[in-house]
Amino acid sequence: MHSQVSFRSGRLIELSVGEPAENMALDQAMLESVDEGGPPTLRLYQWSEPTLSIGYFQPIADRVKHVESRSAVCVRRASGGGAILHHHELTYSIAWPIDGQPAGANLKLYHDTHKAIADTIGNFGVRAARFSETASNRVYREQASRITGVDPFLCFQRRFDDDLIVNGYKVVGSAQRKGKRAVLQHGSLLVRASELAPQLPGLWELGASSYAVAEIAQAIVMNLSETLKVRWRAASWTGEETDRAIHLASERFDTPSWLHRK
C-alpha cells in the first residue's frame, strides 16, 4: 500500500521579462506576501537587458574584478552570495512558508528545488551532479582553506554542496532571503554562455538538446510540482503586490543608495 501524498496549492507567475529593479522588487513583494500568509508562489522570469546582480553584502567596488560584464547594468539583490550575470539564462524565484522558527537557510527547499532543476536539464540531455558528490569537491575545499576569506566574485565560480555541476561547471546558482514566516529563494539557470561572462558555459555549450527558455521553464514547473508537492495554478500579481513592487523598486532597488550601500 502506498500512502497518499497530499499536494498543497501554489501560485504560479508564468514566464515574463522585467526590468532589473522591477524583478528584484517583485521578488521582495512576493516574499512579503507569503510572509503575511499567502500561498507558496513560484515565478519564472528573464531580464530586459543584460544585468549584473550583486549579492546583498558584496561591495559595489568589486565590480572591477569582472571586466567582461562592465557594460551590463547592475542591481543589488536582497539575497546574499556572489554576482550573477543575467543574460541568456532563466531566473526562478520561490516564496515558501516557514513552519516554526528555524534559524538560517532552508536547506531542504534548496535541495528539492535543485533536484527538480537537475531532473529538468536531464530531460534536455545534460546530466548534473550535486557538488558534494563530485570528485572536485575535495580539491576545491582544500584550495578554499588555503586561500582563506576570498570568495570568487561570481556566484557561478563559488561552490556549495547542492550546487549543480556539469562537466566541472556550475549551471545553477541560488540564494535565500528570510522573512519571519517565509523564505524567498531565487536562482539562475545558465542556458547559453554570454559574451559578458564568457568563462561560464550554459546548458547549450554543455550539450543540451535545446536552449528554448520557455520550454525549459515549463519543464521546471512540472518537476517542482513533484519535488515540492505543490499543484501550481497560473495567477497574476495582486494589486497590493504590484503597488508594493512599484514602491520597492523606486525606494530601494532602483536607488544609488541601495546599489552603493556596500
Partner: protein
C-alpha cells in the same frame, strides 16, 4: 564575569536579551543564541544598526549572511540603541565559541511598552528549539 545563558530571556526568533536595571534606566544587551549560531552555519557578514536608532520589539535591527541565506535579526525589546559591538562583524568566527559574552551585538535602553512579556526563559526556549529540530 561571564554571562549565564540560564539567566537570559529569549525571543522566538532566537535573540537573547540580558536585562539590567539600575537607579536610572533599564538596558538590554542583545545577542543571538548558541542554537541559532549553530543552525546559521558559518556566518560571513553582519550589519549593525546606528547608535540612536529607535526599535520596536519584533522589528529588524540588523542582518546576517550565512551559508546560502540572508536572515534578519529582530529586536526582542523596544527602546533606543545606545551601543553597538562594532568589532563583531569583523570577528564573526568568534561567535561560535562565545555567543553570550564576546557575541553581544547591541545594547538597547528600554522605553515604553518594552516587549519583555513576550520573551521566554531558557527552558521554554530550549523546548522551542527541540521542536524545530
Amino acid at each position: 564575569m561571564s554571562r549565564d545563558p540560564s539567566k537570559l530571556l529569549y525571543a522566538e526568533t532566537h535573540e537573547w536579551a540580558d536585562l539590567v536595571t539600575d537607579a536610572d534606566q533599564s538596558v538590554a544587551t542583545i545577542g543571538i543564541s548558541a542554537f541559532a549560531i549553530e543552525q546559521l552555519n558559518d556566518l560571513v557578514f553582519m550589519d549593525l544598526p546606528p547608535i540612536g536608532k529607535v526599535l520596536t520589539a519584533g522589528e529588524e535591527f540588523g542582518e546576517v549572511e550565512s551559508v546560502k541565506a540572508v536572515s534578519p535579526l529582530y529586536s526582542p525589546v523596544s527602546g533606543e540603541v545606545v551601543e553597538v559591538h562594532s568589532e563583531l562583524p569583523e570577528s564573526l568566527d568568534k561567535l561560535n565559541d562565545d555567543p553570550y559574552d564576546f557575541g553581544w551585538i547591541i545594547k538597547v535602553k528600554l522605553s515604553g511598552n518594552d516587549g519583555r512579556e513576550k520573551l521566554m526563559d531558557q527552558s521554554t526556549y530550549e523546548k522551542q528549539c527541540a521542536e524545530a529540530g
